[in-house]
Each structure stands twice: as structure tokens, then as C-alpha cells.
């Protein structure tokens, strides 16, 4: 619809000019040409702009802060109860398995600035398999979901019976947003909204074999599920 309006305006302008040409209303000067070209470019931009910007936005999901908070609460509850099967797959960022673990103890430590919330589930069997799940880490900018651009929030290294949680390489996310002008925002909800960037901290969920002794590192504090 918005693309049709400029075409209509151009048609009207041509009709208006052709009528006035006969009446010799104006002597055409450079300024007239400048104005016609400038307005023409602006109208052309108006018709073309939806194909440039809006199409990409529609591909992205918009989420309100309330929805985000609710989803985070539900995720938190499911992890606390050890019901990871109930969690929507889109919240699972990474899963890593360490098979044939022979050690009697496992120390979990981090060289990560913000300590992630850690949930530990002791399995009923001694299968020598350590399973690490990383959840959430959602990224929303002004209510648009950009989680896919955030990448993996954590990486893990298992050496000498120590599972170290590390940060992956620095990652930059650059987003350009076209917003309404202040003459519109003054009367809409956007007035109260500033720019909001929400990055949820990731949750770690680790399944360990039945008889494995877990040692918490200096910074870490584990929440044992179902105990």
C-alpha cells in the first residue's frame, strides 16, 4: 500500500505540471528542476524502502519484556525440577558429551567473568558419561529477537579431572534500526521506551554418573537437582 502512494503522487504532480504548463504559471528555473528531482528521488525512496528494510524485520520475531520474563521463569523452574525434557528445544544452545570418563572426581571451575547458574543431576547409572547442556542466553534488542546472532555463550574444556568453563572468542553484534521520528514518537508508546538490550545469562545443566564426586571450584556453586 505504502508503495502505491508515491506513484499516485508522481502521477498527480505530472498532471498538475502539464496543466500549469499551458497556463504559463511559472518560468521554469533551476530551482524548479532541483525541487522536482529531489521530490522525485524522495518518492522513489518511499516506494523502494519497504523492500530494503521492512522485509528483513518481518523475518524476525518480536517478543515483549513480559514474555521474555515468563519464558525465563518457566525455564528456571524446569531446570530446578530436572525436567529438561519439558524445555522447548529452541532454548538449548549447545550440548556436549564427554564419554568414557574414568576419574573418580570432577572439579568444575570457570574462567568466566559472570558465573553461570549451574544445575547438576546425578544419574541412576554409572555410565562414565558427562553430559553438559547450555540453555537460554537470549539476545533481544528493542523487543526484536536476535538470539541467532549471539552465538555460543560458553565453551568447555575437560582436562585432568577439571571441567573448565570458558568464554568463546569475542563476538560483535552490529544492528542498525530505523526508528520513527520524534514528531511521531511524541504521541506513541515509543515515547516511554528507550533502547533496550536484553542479554540473558546462560544456564548450565550437567548430568554426571551416579558415583562421581563433584568438587565445586572457587567461583562455582552447584544446585543439585532432585536431592
Amino acid at each position: 500500500m505504502s508503495s502505491i502512494i508515491p506513484i499516485l503522487l508522481v502521477a498527480l504532480a505530472i498532471a498538475f505540471l502539464s496543466i500549469n504548463k499551458r497556463k504559463k504559471f511559472v518560468t521554469v528555473k533551476i530551482t524548479h528542476w532541483l525541487l522536482v528531482i529531489y521530490v522525485g528521488v524522495l518518492l522513489f525512496s518511499m516506494a523502494a524502502a519497504p523492500f530494503v528494510a521492512d522485509g528483513k524485520l518481518h523475518a524476525r520475531e518480536t517478543v515483549s519484556e513480559k514474555e521474555l520474563s515468563q519464558a525465563d521463569n518457566q525455564l528456571h523452574q524446569a531446570l530446578r525440577r530436572g525436567k529438561i525434557e519439558d524445555i522447548d528445544e529452541r532454548y538449548l544452545v549447545t550440548q556436549k558429551n564427554f564419554d568414557n570418563y574414568q576419574g573418580k572426581t570432577l572439579e568444575i571451575d570457570t574462567i568466566y567473568g559472570d558465573v553461570p547458574e549451574l544445575y547438576v543431576e546425578r544419574k541412576q547409572v554409572d555410565d562414565g558419561k558427562i553430559e553438559v547442556f547450555c540453555y537460554a542466553s537470549e539476545l533481544t534488542i528493542d523487543s526484536i529477537d536476535f538470539t541467532d546472532m549471539a552465538g555460543e555463550p560458553l565453551s568447555y574444556v575437560l582436562e585432568n579431572n577439571i571441567l573448565t568453563i570458558k568464554l568463546p572468542k569475542e563476538r560483535e553484534v552490529n544492528v542498525s534500526i530505523v526508528k520513527n521520528e520524534f514528531t511521531i514518537n511524541q504521541f506513541t508508546e515509543a515515547r516511554e521506551k528507550g533502547s533496550h538490550i536484553i542479554v540473558n545469562s546462560p544456564y548450565l545443566y550437567i548430568r554426571i554418573p551416579k558415583n562421581l564426586e563433584l568438587i565445586e571450584g572457587t567461583e562455582m556453586s552447584a544446585i543439585f537437582v532432585g536431592e
Binding site: I30, T31, L35, L42, A53, D114, V178, N180, E181
Partner: protein
Amino acid sequence: MSLMIANFADIVKKQYLFKLKANIDSFSSLIWIQLLALLFSLGGVGSTFASSGNLSIEVKYYSADLVIAFTMIWAFVTAIIITTKPYRNQDFTFVANRLSSSMANVLFLLTASIIGGMTAMLANNLLKIIAYFLFNEQLYSFQSGLKEFALGIAMTILYVFCISAFGYLVGTLVQVSKLFIFFVPVLFFGTILLTTRVQKEPFLTSIFKFYFFEPSLLLALLKIVLTSCLFFFASIAILNRMEVRR
């Protein structure tokens, strides 16, 4: 002695059309000033930065806010220019009086505000296209439907018109006494400096908030229209008291 009876509306219309033709070059400056504002807006009119863990997020905002601001400055300057002596002397080529001349000026400024306001709002799309093709920016638009776009155009026109009304008043005051050339800037900067010294919110900030932070559309309309009328009435009243060809 002429036997023709002069009709006020006809005189105003003739003068208005003449002024539109005579001052057409002011629209060239509008185009250049809007292009300059677009150039400044290419880097974004605002940005936010955040970091969490290994993630650095930079958000750049695009809008035609700067183009609108520059258009307001253009309207202010144009309004001052049309009150100057060479422009006022053109009026004496017509059968006219001070009132008809002022009315034609108001109509010219209204036309200028309509053109300025509409082109300023449309410049947003040009900004999008340039940013997309020139910088290969991935753009996400927050702009909404036609209703809001129409609201934006209407409000921009009114704001530009109000600023031009203020410019017209300043121009008129300067024509009355050249002392106002010093007095107006002194008043402008003086209030900023004085309120900063007494650690109060500057008077200009209060004025800015009074108009631009008004959330009610009806109240904002009332404020802008009444202020514009007040400025124009004051200007016309002052000009009417001036001697002929002064």
C-alpha cells in the same frame, strides 16, 4: 485615480503568488540543508552499546530527526530573511498595505513549512536506501503504518511553521530596532548561562519540554497553533505600526 475596487483577498493572493515566485530560491537552500542533514545522519542519529560476557553489541539508530531539526533552522532563517528591507520593498510594487503583505508572508511561510515538513519526513526513506546500498547495513525498521506517517508529516509541518512564526517575530523586532540583533542572542545564551550558574534547569529546556514532551495530540496541536498565531499577531501588530517604506 483608479476606479477599480481593491479586494483584500485578491491582493493577498497576488502578493502570495508573487512571493512564491520571488522566493523560490529559498527552496534550493532547503534541499541543500536537508542533504547536509542526511549526510550527518548517515553515521546514525544515535547509538547504544552493551556487552555481556564475550558479546559486544552495538545498535545504531537511523531516523530523519536531524533532517527535521535542520529544516526548522531553515524555516527560522527564511522567516527572518523575508522581513528584511529588500524583501519588504518588493511589496510596494503592489497595491497593498502592511496587513496584506504580512498575510502573504504567513501564507508563504505556511507553504514553505508544508514543503519542508513533507520532504523532511520523506528523507527517512532516502536515508534507509543510502545506508543499505552504500554501507551494506542490515536494517531493521520500527516504522509503522500510514496513520502514524501522516501524523508525523502533520506534526512536522506544524513544528516547522511554529519555528518560522518565531523567526518572523524575531525578524520583525530586528526591523523595529537593530538592538534586537544583539538582544535576542544575549537573551538566548544568557538564560542558559544564568540557569547553569544557579544550577536550575535552563529556561530553554523547559520550553523544549513544553512542546516536544507533550504526549496529548490535542494539547500539542493547541500549543503549537496558539503559539504560531501569537507570534504572527505580534509581528503583524508591530509591522502595522511602522512607517511606510521604513
